[in-house]
């Protein structure tokens, strides 16, 4: 969409990409809720479930390449995010952690897959929903484990503080657990995807525009295009890292709820 409009405006002033470029029009004119991000999320669900059910279908002691790839990812999440953080009780949470990790990873990588090229989580509502789900999970786990009274008391009152100080501290603790944790979780994912996509757009669309200019402009455009390619690799790194961090923090929060004291 964007590339075409720039192309048709050849010779005109370059319009730098902005947040407007993230608002994509509905694909069918009369169905407003079917947009590219929605379809990408659906596609990711399809891809992830298809890949892992196929890789686990004919599970054998000597794994096929397919099974090996699936087990590699699962083993990573299981060992690095499950076992090491959640301890002996980690198996209960593996389904959630694993689907979370693969779902976010797939959606993030869509940002650099040719033709798809849109990270779903650069639309903030998707990130909010994941934040809310994690929020629900870690509070539910904590309340189930410790009972609602003890859990709320543990959050609100840090032991060993003179009573008047609670006026200062309790709101901070409540804000941390109820607002800041889910919010930073969502915002971190959203902001990274948003900024990364914007950066790629600037370098690649800007490079394209410069390449259509005079000869000196072409040289600069060549450089900008090269940067765009380098940044695409960098983006890949960021995308994997963000999926990892989101899952890591979810696991850490769950572990915090499971821990007996605060």
């Amino acid at each position: 969409m964007r590339a075409l409009s720039v192309f048709s405006a050849k010779g005109d002033e370059f319009v730098p990409p902005s947040s407007v470029d993230f608002v994509l029009p509905p694909i069918f004119e009369n169905i407003p809720f079917i947009t590219k991000p929605i379809l990408l999320v659906l596609l990711s669900v399809l891809l992830v479930s298809l890949f892992f059910s196929l890789s686990a279908r004919k599970a054998a002691v000597v794994p096929s390449k397919f099974q090996f790839a699936g087990e590699l990812v699962y083993g990573f999440v299981r060992k690095d995010l499950g076992q090491e953080i959640l301890g002996h009780d980690f198996k209960r949470f593996m389904p959630y952690l694993f689907s979370l990790f693969t779902f976010i990873l797939t959606n993030n990588i869509f940002g650099i897959v040719p033709f798809l090229q849109f990270p779903s989580f650069s639309r903030i509502s998707f990130a909010y929903v994941l934040g809310i789900i994690t929020f629900g999970v870690f509070h539910y786990v904590g309340i189930r484990k410790q009972g609602i009274k003890k859990y709320v008391k543990d959050i609100m009152f840090m032991p060993g503080v003179p009573k008047p100080v609670y006026i200062l501290l309790t709101p901070i603790e409540i804000a941390t657990f109820l607002v800041v944790r889910p919010l930073t979780l969502s915002l971190r994912l959203f902001a990274n995807m948003f900024a990364g996509h914007l950066l790629l757009m600037i370098f690649i669309l800007g490079g394209e525009h410069l390449l259509q200019g005079a000869i000196a402009m072409k040289a600069v455009g060549f450089f900008a295009f090269g940067m765009g390619i380098a940044l695409t690799f960098f983006e890949f790194l960021v995308q994997c890292l963000q999926a990892y961090i989101f899952t890591l923090l979810t696991a850490l929060y769950i572990a915090g709820g499971l821990a007996d004291e605060h």
């Binding site: 953080i85 200062l168 930073t184 923090l249 850490l252």
Partner: protein, 62 residues
């Protein structure tokens, strides 16, 4: 294992500092608007930062 608990501490500390700043800073901001003053936001932010740091110390420092 110790590396893991460090990682957890980093994010907890960040959360405390941030929410202290936001909550008491926010209270200060609205108090400013309510009383038509201009210094309460600063007082709130400092109080929130102090509270956040105090919480960090309570949890990890003693």
């Amino acid at each position: 294992m110790s590396k893991r608990s460090d990682e957890s501490a980093i994010w907890t500390i960040l959360g405390y500092l941030l929410s202290g700043l936001l909550f008491w800073g926010g209270v200060g901001y609205f108090a400013d608007r309510f009383f038509n003053t201009s210094y309460l936001t600063l007082v709130g932010i400092l109080m929130g930062m102090g509270g956040g740091l105090y919480l960090v110390w309570l949890r990890f420092g003693r």
